[in-house]
Every structure is written in structure tokens, then in C-alpha cells.
Amino acid sequence: MLPTNTHILYPEFDYHAPTTLYEVTELLAQYGDSARVMAGGTDLLVQMKMERRQPSQVISLMHVNALQGISQNGSLDIGATTSIQEIHRRLPQLYALAEACNGFSSIQIMYMATLGGNLCNASPASDSAPPLLTYDARVTLKSKTAERVLPLERFFLGPGKTAMQPDELLAQISIPAPLPHSGSAFIKISRVVADISQVCAAARLTREGNTIRDARIALGSVAPTPVRAAGAERDLIGETFSPALAEKIGKQAAQEISPISDVRATREYRQQVAAVIVRDALLRAWERAQ
């Protein structure tokens, strides 16, 4: 048989539509590995049609109001099922995240897809992950009996793999209040706009006059998970910003990654362009860090 199909949802499964967080965690406690939660379904349903994932229990989160919305509580707390479109509309000051959400495939996907879903899918090409990594975002994982908070960096383990336990749910993404004089930017390179990235990068800079007080650089589609370029970040902090420095750091960040060649791009193209977009993201972030 032709091994591909995105038309027919063949596997059979039970569908749950709980309305409270507790019910969700109860279902997860009961079904564990055989369950999969579904937010917008833009990744999960496709994977189920392709039979890459075959949960026997699908738990919809779309009726759990507690998981939706954005609130300020010192940190910025984003409910896991908040749509990409809402984030794009409501958080324009988080430049990198807003830019990532703006380039998020098509309009239809922007309305259906959710931030939590994008992270839990754990694609190396996730658009939302690099900006969130530069904001030092944390994720709140809830089970029936416990709750824990992880830095996003420790959440991703590999393509499609996260640190979540089978009975856990990603409930919230928290972004610490930004330091003053911070700016960020996100740049994505893809074959066509509605495609996933060949390479993408986010940068966040915090300035004190002309000195870089804090810096973050993160890249997507260049490693098994979204990654930070820690060495490049270190070499920025404490330095006086200049376009020449951005150029040098871009190249350095590109050396820190070891991308592969695949159907979307060659290793060489990814590495070459990573240097360019990291530099450009730094220049833009600096300009915004007024």
C-alpha cells in the first residue's frame, strides 16, 4: 500500500471532552501512555492519519477554560491552549514571539494551533520554541497529584520527545517579566511561507547604554531539539554592541550547531544562513532594546 495518507483517520480511539483540568489529569492518570491530549489538533490529527501516533484515547482540551488565556501575575502566564493567533494579536511587545506566530503557516493553522500544542509536539522546527527559549520561559506540568515547573530548555528531549511523564499535562507557559531595555527578534527561513522552517533563529538582548547586559540566542531546525547557542550568548554579555560584533557572534552561533541535510535544506545551507539570521536578529533586537 502507498504508505502515506492524510485523508482517512484510520485508527480507532475513544474521544474524551473534559471541561476541568482535574478531569484531564484524572484521565491521564487512568490511561497514561495510551492517551494523547489534543488542543487544536493541527499536528496530532495529521500524525494520527499518518499513523505516526496511535493513541487509543484522545483527550480534547478545547472545553477546558482554565487552560485558555493570557494573564499577568508578575510573570506573563499563557494558558497552554491559547491560540497562536491570539498570542500574535495580544502580545505584540514580545517581538520575537509575535514574529514567530505571524509566520506560523497559514491563517487557518494560526486560529486552530495552540502554543502548548506547538511545544508538546516537540518538533525541532517549532517556530514558537526559539523565542520562548530566549525569554527563559518555564513550563508548568500538572498531574493528578503533583505540579512541577521546568525551564523550557529542559522540556525538549528529542524530536517528538519531551520531559513530560505520561500522566502529566502541559498547563501553562510562563515568561518572566522582561528586564527593562530588552528587545527581541525572530527570523525564519523557509522554502515557501506556509512551510516549516529550513532554519529559524530568535535573539533577545538587554542593554545598558551601549553595553550588552544580557543576551539569549536560540535556533530551530538545526538540531534534534530547539537549541540555545550558549557560547555565543556568553561572548555577547558585557561587550559593547556593534554590527561587527553581531556579525562575529552570528558566525560563532552557526559553528555551535550541527544541522543535518534533509528534504527541506542541506546542512551547508542551514549553517550558512544561520549565521546571517542570528546576526540580523541581534541587530533587530538591539534596535528594539531602547
Binding site: 527561513i189 522554502r191 511561507v193
Partner: protein, 799 residues
């Protein structure tokens, strides 16, 4: 010329149905007792089927169809070519898979879910054969034959070295021609294998009746050709085969042929004795059809004065697992080349080779985007090398007014009688700022700006004075209803471009009836006369021409009967729309008080039992006028990422009289979108190891540009030539395929303008741009090293 109706924009007759989602496509057709079908498609690129065990599937209650259950008649799905040129190499289901995705069995069951389950229960034993994704490998002497033979005109012809067909076309003597040349230019161009990416995947519903007749609702561009082929394959007399026209969700040529799923659906329905629906998945559709991939070696000789003396094209087409219309493809590659420029001596040598890939078919332009990419790229280079403005050089050499145009290969030739090329090139150059374009090689820095130009055309239909190698005629039946409204019964398909809207306008204009009172009847093969197919940019010109011919006849009847009632000579009468009465009104200018509405006339005819005002006509156009197009592309290249941004485009069309202005503009904008994808990103690559698409058929890796990468609509400048085609209905000719043909060459020429680099392989991706820039840098530094060394050496010598 001024018209009452032509040239005005109206709401589309099918508009509300389409925007509200109520329009009925093949996949929307649902009938009582209907079952659903799924097709077993080969995961192997080349494999013989040793056995299929269907017991488990049958136990699930499914009807199963294998090679043993279907007629073994070899057919060719595109019966546009006349029988002597119809290469028949396939059966309803294959006994051997010749490409991944080839249909080898099918099931029908009460639900699609159960059909899928039954499909998975089929046990196939395969004998894997060596497969070829490269046409050179497929031609090796020891290569496994993909086809042992095919049927041509009733004869079984063996296939040698997997070569499907070759064709040589010669005009004059190229050796002599090249001997007269002062300069000879030669380049090899490679074009990509893109998917049609039409919105609707191929679908079909078949409803068999107890008397042995069938009613079919297919995705198709030709209801009559589907009917005739089904009748032949299943040995059903044609009066018992009714093919209904349902709306089609775009095609770009993917349904010129009878789609291979249609006879599968019919065979299942006949076996199940109930209606069956078969809907292709997107992945199945991507394994079903692609544009012909070609390698084109083009050599052109030119005199010092800029006159072409000879041309030589060698074409290799990689056609995939079946020969849908490779003979016709080679013919048109020769024809488009011969019609772009005046070659006193021309030789075309074409070869089409089978490979174990998705079968190729026409895709908007049928060989023209390929031939024009090669010709217009090389012409730009020749002009630049000889220090000519490319516009002037092309105007000196192109085939225009009075020239011979090959509308569909050497057998379809006519004389050009309308030509808007000089106007289009002049207007386009002005609108884009051609004279202010950069000089190649003068820009440095990250972002480089370029303007490129290419011209081309498409034929309007495949009509000619002589019967050609392809069938080309249309028919229409027009009747006046008893209230003065008009029914047009026409078998033509409208792919969304507005062909039927145009036909309604042409009829309304001729009859002098408000467009609101002209209806397009639902069509099927029982109640319409033959129309070959909506392809070859023939809809308005040929389909509209047939409707016009019938309308002229009806109009004569109107005047004859009105003359009896009004007591005036028929020849003195006129008819024009009256928008207050919403009627055509028949009158004589000398006696304005003697008038009658068309409705009153038709009613009087009925009351008097005189009969119905109606006519049915067929029309073979005896010309195939070129629908010229010019393209100017203004772009910016980011030399650090290789990304190309289209800033502006100026697209000029010579479609004769513009019938549907808004839709004509839409065609040009759509042609840009399709052409941009072809130029810059789209390509279906095959994994040589597995013979599968590297995208695995997934849309995400189809890389089709979306509306967001097109320039803003105000930056797409469209303009039209002020021409009148004497042979067309009200002076109209075609536009659809022309709208995209020169686009890729215009991009390549704009990239040359920006970067001083010639790109000869499509698509020109960001990665190819970056590596070409790196090679350019390396050459430059080697050259400067060399120069430096030389200077040092000279200085040392001087010392």
C-alpha cells in the same frame, strides 16, 4: 468596437454557490445505496504482482477488484489525439506496478472506513524489479523493460530501451544555417517536475442502472471523452453511458485525460451493482500526475546584424511510468520553439523516455513553459552578448503578424492575423521602468535588484485548415424560452477561469439579450453535442466560437419570425437588450414603433404552434491564433540567504477582445503565482533508492507558493493589447495558459540582471543562488589573483 455586454464585469453565475460552499463537485455527489471505494496503490516503483489474496477483505463484506476482474483492453486516457497517434499502454488496473502509487487493486464497502480496512486486508505478493528514476539509466541496454510493448493504431509495437517515442522535425538545413551565422550560442536547460496542485483531488461517482447503463460524475475537463473511453473499455453502447458535468476545483491540465480512477470506480460500481464513490487522497493525487520534466539543449546561430539563421533543439523528456501524450509533447516542444522566433533553418530532435516515476501530463502550457524558459533565457543572453536591447532583438526576430504559427506541433499551423506584441513590450517596458534597470555586474552589497523580461504565447485551440493530429471542435445548442430567456446547452467545462461565463456573454451579445436572462444549462453527454475538451486555451476562442455560430443561426430565426409578425423585411431588423424590460427587443430603426420583445415573439410562436427558436451547431476553428503574453519581473535578491522577493510584475496579454475583464486579470495574476513557483521553488524529487517522492506525497513538502509570497495586487500591473482577432468570436482569442508561459524565463533574466549569473536549471532555489554566488566570488578572486600575478610579473620583467 463597442459592445453591449462583452468587456463588462458581472457577478459570476456560479459565484454564490462557490463562495457559500454549496457548489457540487464530484466528491459532493451522494446517492442512495452508495458505497465508498479505496484503491490499493503500489509502494514499489517497479514490481510484478504475483498474487493478491482477497479473502480477508471479502469476509469484511467488501467488493474487491483486481486485474483479473477488469477488462484487459489497453487504453490511452487522452483521446484528444487521433487514433494513429494514440499510444495505449495501460489497463484499468495494472498487472505490474510501473511507479509508486500505481493502482493495482480496489475495494468498495458501505463506508470509507470499512473500505480502508478491507484495503489493508488485501495480501499482495510482489516480485520486485529494478527501477529507474533517471531516464539515462532507463535507456541502458541491460535495463529492465518498463513496458514490453504498447498498442498504436491496433498494432502491438515493442518498446526498445524504454524509449516511449521519438520525433524529429526539420525546416530548411541547419548546417547551412549555422554556416551563415557569425555567432553561435548554445546552452542546456533543465526543467523541474512540478505537481499541478489543483484544489480538488481527482474524484468520481458511478451510478449503474439495472438496464446496464451507467451515469458517471467525474472530475474531468471533457465529459464526452470520458464517455467514449468508458464505452470502449466496458463495451457499453454510448447511449447507455451518461457522463454528467459537475463543477471542477481547478485542474491546470491534470484532467485533460480521463483520470485513471474513473474506470476503476466504474468497474467497482458494475461489480457491486450499486453507486460507488471514489475520492483520491492528496497523497494519491500527488502520485498521479506531474508536469513533463525536460532537458532542452538549445543552439542558435545569429548574424552580426542580429538576424537568426538557425536553431537546433534537442529535447529529452522524462515521462514517468505511462505515455499519456508524449508524442504530442514532442510535437508541441517543436511547435512552440518554431513559433517563438523566425528560424529559417530549424531542427528539433525529441525523445521521451519511460521511468518508474509518476506519469507526466500537461500542466498549464503543455511544454510551453519549458520551451519558453530555454528560448527566452538564451535570447536574453544573445541580445546582451551582442549588445542589443533584448526588446529590440526580440522584435526583430519574433513570429508576428503574417508569420506562421504552430498551434499544436507541425500539423497545426495557421497564419497570424492579430499581433499585440510591439504594443505589449512597449507598454510593459514603460510600466516597469525597463530603461532604468541596473546593469548586470555593477551591484555590490547584500540586496541586489533586477528587472527581467520574457515574452511568449499560447495557442488558442488546436484548430487549423487541415485536420491535425489532435481533434479540435466544439458544439453548442441554444434555445429561446417562451419568456425570452435563453438556455445554452454546451458540453464545455469551466475550470474556474470563467469559460462558461464568457460563452454566456458571447451569446448574450449576439442575441441582444441581457446577460441576466442567459442561462448555462447543466450538461451531460446525453443532451449535449460533442466538445473535445477544455484545454489548449481554447475555451473562449473555440467553445465560444461554436456558441456564437449557433447564436447567429438563432438570431436569423428570430428575425425571420419577427418579420412575419412586424411586417418588415428580416434584414432590416435589429435586436438589443432593454434593461427595464429585462428583454431583448426586436425593432427596425426606420419604424421604431414596430417592435416586439423576444419574450413576446417566443410566446407568440408557441401560441401559434410555430415551434421553438433553437439551433445546434458544431464548429471547427480553422485557425489557432497566438495569445501573446509579455512578462516583466522586478525582484530583489538577498545575497546572504539566497531568498528572492518579487517586488513588482508587469504582465501584458494579447487575448484579442477582452470578454471578462476581471477574470482576465485574475488569469494573469494566477499565471504569475504558478510561474513564480515553477521558477523559484516547486520541484518534486524522487528518492532514487526507493522510487518514492522525497515528499512522500505530503502537501507540506509540495512547496507551492501561497498568496502571501505574491506581490501585493497593486504591484501586479496587468495590461492588454488593443487587438481584434478576425477569426475569433467578437475578436477574442485565448489567455489561460499564455498567462504563465514566459514567467520562469522572466525570473531567470531578472536574476541575471541582478547578479550577472545565468541560471539554466529550474527551480532557481535559494540554495542554488547561494552556491552560484560563491562560485562567482571564487572566479573573481582567481581572476584578480591571476591579474595581480601578471602585474607583478610584468613589473618584474620591466625591472
Amino acid at each position: 468596437m463597442s459592445y453591449q455586454i462583452l468587456g463588462n464585469d458581472y457577478f459570476r453565475k456560479d459565484g454564490i454557490g462557490k463562495v457559500t460552499g454549496r457548489e457540487v463537485y464530484a466528491s459532493d455527489v451522494t446517492l442512495p445505496r452508495m458505497w465508498h471505494a479505496r484503491v490499493l496503490r503500489s509502494p514499489h516503483a517497479h514490481a510484478r504482482i504475483k498474487s493478491i489474496d482477497a479473502r480477508a477483505a471479502q469476509e469484511l463484506g467488501a467488493v474487491v477488484l483486481t486485474y483479473a476482474d477488469v477488462p484487459h483492453l489497453k487504453y490511452n486516457e487522452r483521446i484528444v489525439s487521433i487514433p494513429p497517434h494514440l499510444y495505449r499502454d495501460r489497463t484499468v488496473l495494472a498487472d505490474k506496478a510501473r511507479h509508486v502509487g500505481e493502482a493495482v487493486a480496489a475495494v468498495a464497502a458501505p463506508t470509507e472506513q470499512l473500505a480502508e480496512k478491507a484495503l489493508r486486508a488485501l495480501q499482495v505478493e510482489w516480485e520486485i524489479l529494478p527501477h529507474y528514476t533517471d531516464p539515462l539509466a532507463a535507456q541502458r541496454a541491460d535495463a529492465e523493460p518498463i513496458h514490453d510493448s504498447y498498442i498504436l493504431n491496433g498494432q502491438e509495437i515493442p518498446v526498445e530501451n524504454n524509449v516511449a517515442v521519438t520525433r524529429v522535425v526539420q525546416v530548411g538545413d541547419i548546417e547551412e544555417g549555422f554556416a551563415q551565422a557569425d555567432h553561435i550560442f548554445e546552452r542546456e536547460f533543465v526543467t523541474s517536475r512540478i505537481y499541478h496542485a489543483q484544489m480538488e483531488t481527482k474524484s468520481c461517482v458511478c451510478d449503474p442502472a439495472p438496464d446496464g447503463s451507467i451515469t458517471v460524475y467525474p472530475t474531468t475537463q471533457s465529459i464526452h471523452n470520458v464517455r467514449q473511453l468508458l464505452g470502449e473499455i466496458f463495451s457499453i453502447p454510448l447511449h447507455k453511458v451518461n457522463v454528467k458535468r459537475v463543477a471542477i476545483g481547478g485542474t491546470f491540465g491534470s484532467s485533460i485525460q480521463m483520470n485513471s480512477i474513473i474506470p476503476i470506480c466504474v468497474a467497482l460500481a458494475l461489480k457491486a451493482k450499486r453507486p460507488v464513490k471514489l475520492v483520491s487522497t492528496r497523497e494519491e493525487d500527488m502520485y498521479d500526475h506531474v508536469r513533463y520534466q525536460t532537458k532542452l539543449k538549445l543552439k542558435i546561430g545569429v548574424t552580426r546584424e542580429g538576424k537568426i539563421t538557425a536553431g537546433h533543439m534537442q529535447a529529452l523528456a522524462d515521462i514517468g511510468g505511462h505515455n499519456i501524450q508524449a508524442y504530442a509533447l514532442l510535437s508541441v516542444l517543436a511547435g512552440w520553439t518554431a513559433s517563438l522566433y523566425n528560424y529559417p533553418n530549424l531542427k528539433f530532435e525529441g525523445k521521451a523516455v519511460y521511468t518508474n516515476k509518476t506519469p507526466s501530463c500537461a500542466l498549464q502550457g503543455f511544454g510551453n513553459p519549458q520551451a519558453t524558459f530555454a528560448a527566452e533565457s538564451l535570447m536574453d543572453e544573445i541580445a546582451t552578448e551582442l549588445d542589443w536591447d533584448p526588446i529590440e532583438f526580440k522584435l526583430k526576430n519574433y513570429v508576428g503578424l503574417g508569420g506562421t504559427f504552430w498551434g499544436q506541433g507541425p500539423s497545426v499551423q495557421s497564419i497570424v492575423r492579430s499581433d499585440g506584441v510591439p504594443q505589449l513590450l512597449h507598454d510593459g517596458a514603460q510600466k516597469i521602468g525597463w530603461r532604468a534597470r541596473p546593469k548586470p555586474g555593477t551591484q555590490t552589497g547584500r540586496y541586489r535588484h533586477g528587472i527581467g523580461m520574457a515574452r511568449g504565447f499560447h495557442t488558442s485551440g488546436a484548430g487549423a485548415p487541415k485536420p491535425g493530429e489532435v481533434i479540435d471542435y466544439s458544439g453548442a445548442f441554444i434555445k429561446i424560452n417562451e419568456d425570452g430567456s435563453v438556455d445554452i446547452v454546451h458540453a464545455m467545462m469551466d475550470h474556474g477561469g470563467g469559460t462558461l461565463e464568457a460563452i454566456a456573454k458571447i451569446v448574450a451579445e449576439e442575441l441582444g439579450v441581457p446577460i441576466e436572462r442567459v442561462g448555462i444549462s447543466p450538461a451531460d453527454t446525453l443532451t449535449t453535442v460533442y466538445d473535445v475538451v477544455t484545454h489548449a486555451t481554447r475555451g473562449v476562442y473555440a467553445g465560444g466560437g461554436a456558441a456564437h455560430k449557433a447564436a447567429v443561426k438563432v438570431k436569423q430565426q428570430i428575425f425571420d419570425y419577427a418579420s412575419r409578425i412586424l411586417g418588415l423585411q428580416a434584414d432590416s431588423l435589429m435586436i438589443e437588450p432593454d434593461y427595464e424590460l429585462m428583454q431583448g427587443v426586436i425593432y427596425c430603426p426606420n419604424f421604431p414603433e414596430r417592435r416586439i420583445t423576444l419574450g413576446a415573439l417566443a410566446k407568440q410562436l408557441q401560441v401559434n404552434s410555430w415551434g421553438t427558436l433553437a439551433a445546434v451547431e458544431s464548429l471547427r476553428q480553422v485557425n489557432c491564433p497566438p495569445a501573446y503574453v509579455t512578462y516583466f519581473i522586478d525582484l530583489t535578491v538577498d545575497t546572504e540567504t539566497g531568498q528572492v522577493t518579487t517586488n513588482r510584475a508587469a504582465i501584458g496579454s494579447d487575448c484579442g477582445t477582452v470578454v471578462n475583464p476581471a477574470m482576465a486579470i485574475g488569469q494573469l495574476e494566477g499565471g504569475l503565482s504558478k510561474g513564480m513557483g515553477y521558477a523559484l521553488v516547486e520541484d518534486n524529487q524522487w528518492d532514487a533508492q526507493t522510487g518514492q517522492l522525497t515528499s512522500k506525497g505530503f502537501w507540506i513538502d509540495g512547496k507551492t507558493p501561497a498568496i502571501s509570497e505574491a506581490p501585493f495586487v497593486e504591484n501586479i500591473i496587468t495590461h492588454f493589447a488593443n487587438t481584434y482577432e478576425p477569426s475569433g468570436p467578437f475578436g477574442a482569442k485565448g489567455i489561460g495558459e499564455a498567462a504563465t508561459n514566459p514567467c520562469a524565463a522572466a525570473y531567470a533574466n531578472a536574476l541575471y540582471n541582478a547578479l550577472d549569473i545565468r541560471f539554466t536549471e529550474l527551480p532557481i532555489t535559494a540554495e542554488k543562488i547561494l552556491s552560484a554566488l560563491a562560485a562567482q566570488d571564487e572566479r573573481a578572486s582567481r581572476a584578480s589573483d591571476y591579474l595581480e600575478n601578471k602585474v607583478v610579473a610584468v613589473m618584474q620583467a620591466a625591472e
